[in-house]
């Protein structure tokens, strides 16, 4: 019998965990909006594409890095506010499914607009981080992956601090808990929603840059949303820790499956394996890893 190659196993596992961090980063954008407004924002992937494409195009037009970042951020905030005004406000009190479908339409608009403005060619994005593998006692780890993981981790810490210790964060949590009670104590919902969408825009920007540097900035970037959905299903739509742990689990499971099972069925199972993992888990535990147990009242 062939000796099981533990070193290789750990290399795959760590590679999977690190790519899982990238999934989590996208998933966090969803969670932010879902928590506060109950909307599953399918347009998150399109926002990510828009942010990355805008940033790259600006940099290619010789706009300095920091300025391009600032302009893109302002643009994302503006889009967030516009979405709240034009799409969400008229749809207040409609079923969550209706809102979901609206964000589906929104994703078509944003994707179309991004490519209509900036063109459809593939842009390279260089964040100045060299992708040299590190050697940790025989296990090779990509430097870029480590950087991405660090960024994601600091995003999570920042968001957690923001949610826990600031007035705005407190207001977010109040709205997430009970919209009517939040209204009753004088929180302005439209303003809060606009802020949340702007925050999601920021997450989209960061995720877009990291993913863009990885895959190149192009249309398929908006498809990372499809990678984030099983993460959300697994972690629960309303939990940031869930998004993190879910992302790690999915990332690791996907890579391990591709390496160890993939060869028996012809490979390419990454496109659906995550969904199967998430579904299998949900059949056992329907509210996800950290999702709130829903009590349904008639």
């Amino acid at each position: 019998m062939v000796e099981f190659d533990w070193l290789f196993f750990f290399e795959v596992l760590i590679g999977g965990l690190l790519s899982g961090v990238m999934y989590s980063l996208v998933a966090i954008g969803f969670v932010l909006i879902y928590k506060t407004s109950g909307v599953l924002n399918f347009a998150q992937g399109a926002m990510l594409l828009f942010a990355a494409l805008t940033f790259v195009s600006l940099v290619e037009r010789a706009v300095p890095f920091a300025l391009a970042l600032a302009i893109t951020f302002v643009l994302m905030v503006a889009i967030g506010i516009a979405i709240e005004r034009v799409v969400l406000r008229p749809l207040t009190n409609r079923s969550p499914m209706t809102l979901f479908m609206a964000t589906l339409g929104l994703s078509y608009i944003i994707e179309g607009a991004a490519q209509l403005i900036w063109g459809t060619q593939v842009h390279g994005l260089d964040l100045g981080i060299e992708d040299i593998p590190f050697d940790f006692g025989g296990i090779f780890i990509s430097q870029f992956d480590l950087f991405a993981a660090a960024v994601a981790a600091s995003m999570v810490v920042l968001l957690s601090i923001f949610f826990r210790y600031t007035r705005v964060g407190l207001a977010f949590r109040a709205v997430a808990d009970d919209q009517f009670a939040a209204l009753a104590i004088g929180l302005r919902l439209p303003w809060i929603w606009a802020t949340v969408w702007a925050a999601a825009g920021l997450v989209a920007l960061v995720a877009g840059l990291l993913w863009g540097a990885r895959l190149g900035v192009q249309f398929s970037l908006s498809l990372v949303v499809l990678k984030a959905l099983p993460v959300l299903v697994l972690g629960g739509f309303d939990s940031i820790p869930g998004a993190i742990v879910g992302g790690l689990l999915i990332g690791a499971a996907e890579k391990l499956a591709e390496v160890y099972i993939g060869e028996y069925v012809g490979g390419g199972i990454e496109s659906w394996f995550a969904y199967v993992v998430a579904l299998a888990f949900l059949l056992v535990h329907p509210s996800g890893l950290f999702g709130q147990k829903l009590v349904e009242r008639v």
């Binding site: 008229p90 499914m97 979901f100 929104l106 179309g112 739509f237 659906w272 059949l283 329907p286 349904e296």
Partner: protein, 346 residues
């Protein structure tokens, strides 16, 4: 999604069965003689296949309230199953292949409908994506499905039933029209039957449905099965009558969204809605490209067309959700009622 199937109100002088019969008369007796081949190939054939898919999805999403983002998977299952039954079973008539293809799609539908027994809402919608990706993967990965054709693109067999060949655009149109009419009629009967009422009960309130004795789990799986059957047959029409080839690439996520958009724009929980929605979604790109090249000339290339199409489509979805949540059907009914009132006064 709360509207119950809107039926023709009986207060009108026109009986309810008359408009569809008249429409069918025109479709069978007049259109084949005056239509150009462009009309058949670019508009009517995709329209018929997409309408049928819309009817199928509407049973699941509009009536039974289970949102599916994987319709294109069932189109693909239908198309590939029909192709393989036709290829591998000696002497099986085309009708047999089509029915078996529908049943195959229904079986796959039940499998991917199983999560609906435990999951609801978004969780279910996301889980139907599994069907989308798995089926597309399996069809591309295992070349057995496409009879080991090198390119993965295969020619569809000729349509013929009992020795009558449905060749040419008009023939394929009449074939599709007959299949769509038949299945739509059955779907219409279904939604006004006990099962149809059960669907609506489960959609509106699962707990209440259970209390009054609706077998919720059975009802959900039935909805998945019937919806997948219809979508599967629509897939056969799409591949055999419209495209004349069978390939996995055409049944992607965008196609699933297209079918979902058809029922949102047309009207959820309305059989007629699927036809309205499909008509709009087939004509919109054509009209947009005409309009674009007319207004902008050369600037309006296919890339720009593709993008502006996405934007218009997205905007339409949002507009309909905000202004006309019950879709084109309710818009149409309102216009008809108003015009009837105006004519009544004159």
């Amino acid at each position: 999604m709360t509207a119950i199937a809107s039926e023709f109100s009986s207060s009108h002088r026109i009986p309810g069965w008359l408009p569809p019969v008249l429409l069918l008369g025109v479709a069978y007796l007049i259109v084949p003689f005056i239509g150009t081949s462009y009309l058949f190939e670019a508009i009517l054939l995709p329209f018929l296949a997409l309408s049928l898919a819309g009817v199928g999805l509407n049973i699941l999403t509009g009536y039974a309230g289970q949102v599916s983002l994987g319709s294109a998977a069932f189109l693909a299952v239908g198309a590939f199953a029909a192709y393989n039954f036709n290829l591998r079973v000696e002497g099986l008539p085309l009708i047999g292949s089509i029915i078996l293809a529908g049943l195959a799609a229904a079986a796959i539908g039940i499998v991917f409908g199983l999560p609906s027994l435990r999951l609801k809402g978004f969780y279910l919608a996301v889980s139907t994506l599994a069907a989308q990706f798995f089926v597309q993967w399996a069809l591309t990965k295992f070349s057995w499905f496409s009879n080991d054709s090198a390119s993965g693109v295969i020619d569809a067999p000729a349509l013929s039933i009992a020795g009558i060949a449905f060749n040419g655009a008009v023939g394929r149109y009449l074939f599709s029209l007959t299949v769509v009419t038949l299945l739509t009629f059955l779907a219409y009967r279904l939604v006004s039957s006990q099962s149809g009422r059960n669907f609506i009960a489960v959609r509106d309130n699962e707990t209440a449905a259970r209390i009054i004795g609706v077998p919720v789990l059975k009802t959900k799986l039935l909805a998945f099965a019937i919806s997948s059957f219809i979508i599967g047959v629509a897939g056969v029409l799409w591949a055999f009558a419209y495209l004349r080839t069978v390939e996995p690439a055409g049944f992607n996520l965008d196609r699933s969204f297209q079918i979902l958009f058809i029922i949102i724009i047309g009207g959820l929980a309305s059989i007629r809605g699927a036809f309205f929605g499909a008509a709009l979604l087939v004509i919109l790109p054509l009209a947009l490209s005409r309009l674009g090249s007319f207004l902008l000339g050369d600037v309006f290339n296919s890339g720009v067309l593709d993008m502006s199409q996405r934007i218009v489509l997205g905007a339409l979805i949002i507009l309909f959700l905000i202004l006309e949540p019950d879709g084109l059907v309710s818009l149409w009914d309102r216009i008809r009622k108003r015009s009837a009132a105006v004519f009544g006064r004159m």
